[in-house]
């Protein structure tokens, strides 16, 4: 009986850990990490805590924020960058950060926001606790996939501004001027050579017809 049971068990497939099907046809961050990458769906929900200090227009908080000079709170140095945002716990990043979900890291490599920005509370990128703080970004974030990434490497702008936009002229001038130079080169080259080729063809066609007519 025991021998039959052992034989039966040996014929069964090996026991495997639970696995997740991945529908994407391209490279995934998952290759670099044991996690599924779907933090927002499966693993982490924002905490439900009341902030100690509120922000303008939001009446939450034990000590409501009273601006003396700035009307809008600057969020780039907060421990919790989403502090005081209404219904934050039920919202998804892309509802507000639309542009940031369209770059190659998100679209091609299927990275989710929290894989770089960290878990809740998501610190502002310039806050000391943030993994994206420039003092440690290359080591804590970039080097997960780009082995050997340096601080210089980390100056790559993941969420690029629109290259041709006027505001990019001051925020990323090299990208702005490169864009306009290439666009003008493309337009100029095609604007000269497409009509040139068309006129050559038309003139040759007419010339041949005239020859045949004679």
């Amino acid at each position: 009986m025991a021998a039959a049971l052992a034989l039966g068990l040996s014929l069964l497939p090996e026991i495997a850990s639970s696995q997740e099907e991945v529908a994407s046809s391209i490279r995934r961050y998952k290759d670099q990490e044991v996690s599924t990458g779907y933090y927002e769906e499966y693993e982490v929900k924002p905490r439900h805590e009341l902030p100690l200090v509120g922000v303008p227009g939001v009446s939450r908080g034990i000590f409501p924020y009273r601006p003396s000079r700035a009307e809008v709170r600057i969020r780039t140095r907060l421990e919790d960058s989403h502090w005081g945002i209404k219904f934050y716990e039920n919202r998804r990043c892309e509802e507000c950060h639309v542009h940031e979900t369209m770059d190659d890291h998100t679209v091609r490599a299927n990275l989710t926001c929290r894989q770089c920005h960290g878990g809740e509370p998501i610190a502002s990128i310039d806050h000391y606790y943030s993994p994206l703080n420039p003092i440690r970004r290359h080591a804590y974030v970039c080097a997960k996939c780009h082995e050997g990434a340096s601080a210089s490497f980390a100056s790559y702008v993941v969420h690029e501004p629109p290259a041709g936009a006027e505001k990019t002229r001051t925020s990323f001038p090299t990208l702005y001027y490169a864009y306009w130079f290439m666009l003008l080169l493309l337009v100029f080259t095609l604007a000269v050579f497409i009509p040139h080729s068309f006129l050559v063809g038309l003139r040759e066609l007419l010339g041949r017809k005239l020859k045949v007519g004679k």
Partner: protein
């Protein structure tokens, strides 16, 4: 039409052109695999090249082959320079270096377009042929340098700031789109579809052109060969029929594939991002 032909390109010239054709088509297709991967057509195209990662490997390997071919061509070019008569070698009528005569020919051609004058009496190389040739010297190094930067981003960031990779992506994609647009629209039209060339300008594949065609489009070149007593030496044999079949099939396959890429790229352009 006469069967007498004038030699126009050496075997090595033809070899360089075929190599450039093949590598350019592969780079265009595998580059589009990456550019359009988020579109349904991009997925189909990528499937033809073995998937996203494989198409990238092909793109990189063929990129290195292109760079090697370009360096080889530079050596070849230097070997063709007559260092004892440098001025004539660089500025003479057999040279591809643009000169003031090209500007005059362009002006004459513009007048001819509108029936205001005779066509320019071209010598061996027309101004648009010179543009085609030198365009590679701008495009290929730019694509090669930005391509190497993107291939080795961590090493690049050791000598350049990381944000230069943002610029490299933009330059690589924009230059590729410029080259592809130019080749698949302008070069294909001039080489295949204009009445003078239709159904195909065989010069680059046969290595020679019919003497009557040469007289019609490049009369000054033929006259110069006659005056210098070099015409007989420049005569070439008619290409054999099977070879003509091969290059017609090859040329039209390249044309069809290029137009397939171009039409789909235009149709799916909302999916493409320059950076």
């Amino acid at each position: 039409m006469s069967t007498r032909r004038i030699k126009r390109f050496s075997k090595l010239d033809q070899g360089f052109h075929v190599a450039l054709m093949l590598t350019f088509l592969i780079q265009s297709a595998t580059g589009f695999c990456r550019l359009f991967i988020t579109s349904p057509w991009g997925e189909t195209l990528t499937g033809l090249f073995g998937g996203y990662e494989t198409s990238y490997v092909i793109h990189r390997v063929v990129g290195f082959i292109m760079i090697g071919g370009f360096l080889l061509h530079l050596v070849y070019l230097l070997s063709k320079v007559n260092w004892n008569n440098l001025k004539q070698s660089i500025l003479g009528p057999d040279s591809l270096v643009p000169n003031l005569e090209d500007a005059r020919h362009l002006w004459q051609r513009l007048l001819w377009f509108f029936g205001l004058g005779p066509p320019p009496r071209l010598d061996r190389w027309a101004y648009w042929e010179k543009f085609d040739y030198w365009a590679v010297f701008w495009g290929l190094p730019l694509l090669a340098i930005t391509g190497l930067m993107l291939m080795y981003p961590v090493r690049t960031s050791a000598v350049l700031p990381g944000w230069s990779l943002n610029v490299a992506v933009l330059l690589h994609r924009a230059e590729a789109i410029l080259a592809i647009s130019y080749i698949f629209i302008v070069h294909f039209f001039i080489g295949h579809l204009r009445p003078f060339s239709f159904p195909m300008n065989e010069a680059m594949f046969a290595g020679s052109i019919n003497i009557e065609e040469a007289m019609e489009e490049k009369p000054r070149w033929v006259e110069r060969l006659k005056t210098e007593g070099r015409l007989d030496a420049a005569m070439a044999a008619q290409p054999v029929p099977w070879y003509r079949v091969v290059y017609f099939v090859f040329g039209y396959a390249a044309l069809a594939f290029g137009i397939y890429l171009l039409i789909n790229a235009i149709a799916y352009s909302p999916y493409a991002r320059l950076h």
